[in-house]
Amino acid sequence: MCDQTFLAITFGPCDNCSETKPLMNIYVKNEPINYCSLCVERMACQGLGPNETLATLKTESETLKTKLEEERAKLHDAELHQVAEKVEALGQFIIKTRRTLKGHGNKVLCMDWCKDKRRIVSSSQVRPFRWRRHEHAVTMPCTWVMACAYAPSGCAVACGGLDNKCSVYPLSLDKNENLAAKKKSVAMHTNYLSACSFTNSDMQILTSSGDGTCALWDVESGQLLQSFHGHSADVLCLDLAPSETGNTFVSGGCDKKANVWDMRSGQCIQSFESHESDINSVRYYPSGDAFASGSDDATCRLFDLRADREVSVYSKDSIIFGVSSVDFSLSGRLLFGGYNDYTINVWDVLKGTRVSILFGHENRVSTLRVSPDGTAFCSGSWDHTLRIWA
């Protein structure tokens, strides 16, 4: 799913010359600036070095790209599956649907586990968002939800979608409490919200959007703490690095790129461009040294952060439908992928082979998450159900 990104143009007084004109909303060093087009032109030309022209900059960028490729190639001395040849092959795999959760009246678009490992939150298209607790569903008062996330404390849930916002709902045990009244709007983007995630606490939320940016927000004040620019199209997914002190996250977008970001500086520190289509899902390897991605090009790929390159591709000629969602088992040995052909493929991460194919859903698998304790995983589908597999 990929809509056009658009550049917001406003009309008002220019920050520089104070004339009221159509303004360009641009970012300089992560600060938003509203200059009229004439002032933007002057500013850009002032910054140019003595011999810098568009042509020289383009040549330099080509040279740098080539250099980057060469540096990466030099270290490509082996393939992951070759190194993993001596690893014991996995035995027979028995995974079945243990629970089917029905009740959503529409396509399930996303879900998340609570840290207590027994509750999950899920959302669907059109119908209000539901919160499942011990299999009792509680309806949340928002619609068109494309992303949802549980707060680490389990006391709140964040969700958002076509309303371009991310809102936080505190959860209570009182079924009669009016949840709509307690809603807090935290994030504001200029296009749909594709993914959201709490950081290590209930206090900050990271969001990604169809407007091509990711952003970090303070939940209490709704203030934008940091914004992340670099994708050239809709950002579809994000995942936070697992370590407690980790300050990075990875995002994937319609520009086929997966970017790794430093949360404090807003800087993109690494970028990977080997997928051939939109990246729908990214997930860190449990050690934090690598991440997997799933794409519309029907492949899942593993990227190692320290080798700075793709190290494995999980694909088969018979698999031609896009991957919507990926997640690792606790040890990182298994990679689960939910596909648009209604199946879930289980891959041996090290050997690169498929271990199992799981049938059951009657429409696209749209979301898939392994539980925090690794005993099961949950898949959500356009067939209106959620399935728990173990």
């Binding site: 993993a84 080798a307 190290v311 040890s331």
Partner: protein
């Protein structure tokens, strides 16, 4: 107008590439070995990999046994 946008963008691209070209990298064989060792270290505690006894797994139903 498109020229200034292009220059600003080209500048950003060059700066970004400089940052990326400058990072420290390790060999794939070493990175792969570390991924493998992490898997091996944690394999035993991965319920989906090794399977847990039905009695301990809250999701697996306890089926009665039938003697045929």
């Amino acid at each position: 107008m498109s020229t200034t946008n292009s220059i600003a963008q080209a500048r950003k691209v060059v700066e970004q590439l400089r940052v990326e070209a400058g990072i420290e990298r390790i060999k794939v064989s070493k990175a792969a070995a570390e991924l493998m060792s992490y898997c091996e270290q944690h394999a035993r505690s991965d319920p989906l990999l090794v399977g847990v006894p039905t009695s301990e797994n809250p999701f697996k139903d306890k089926k009665p046994c039938i003697i045929l």
